[in-house]
Symmetry: C2
Subunit: 114 residues, 2 copies
Amino acid sequence: MLKTETLTRIKWDANGLIAAIVQDANTQQVLMMAYMNTEALQKTLEISETVFWSRSRSELWHKGATSGNTQKVREIRIDCDADTLLILVEPAGPACHTGEVSCFYRTLSEFESE
Amino acid sequence: MLKTETLTRIKWDANGLIAAIVQDANTQQVLMMAYMNTEALQKTLEISETVFWSRSRSELWHKGATSGNTQKVREIRIDCDADTLLILVEPAGPACHTGEVSCFYRTLSEFESE
């Protein structure tokens, strides 16, 4: 658990969220980006698996709770201005709901051609 | 330049921005995260160096224009729901204004101990 003083030093956005980049600790592949509120971050620290705040469903989202594709947290880093997290994980399966290993499975050119 | 139709398919946020994660194409290190509007993204494609939208200064920000620490763009990827970019770059110098290679130079534990 983070101290309250630490939580106040993190630069949450206007919606009380912080962006969290998820990177595979072994392959270094960037897997996804999602958002955390204080509760999601504390829960992530507590269970050592990623827990986000789902902006679409407005609820805590324990990644992989239903799919089994959890992400074991190896390290959490924070950037210079304390408004973005980098979470290094060992994924139990694909990060993307499409079944792709990473949500970044397309180049911008491929996206344009779709 | 991206086609207008492609620009409308990108999920810009309420402020007309998209988050852009910057990763070193060679070392795979995540260097920073910043934001782009349509103009920043088109300029990035035009000059093959990262150009962001500075939220604090409300102006286009050609990374490294003054410091020399430009980032040559090797590839731009977009995620499944088209609301985050992953930019693979060859950096000419440190990404962080502190002089660190990456803005994510601290663990969350180190941040808490500061």
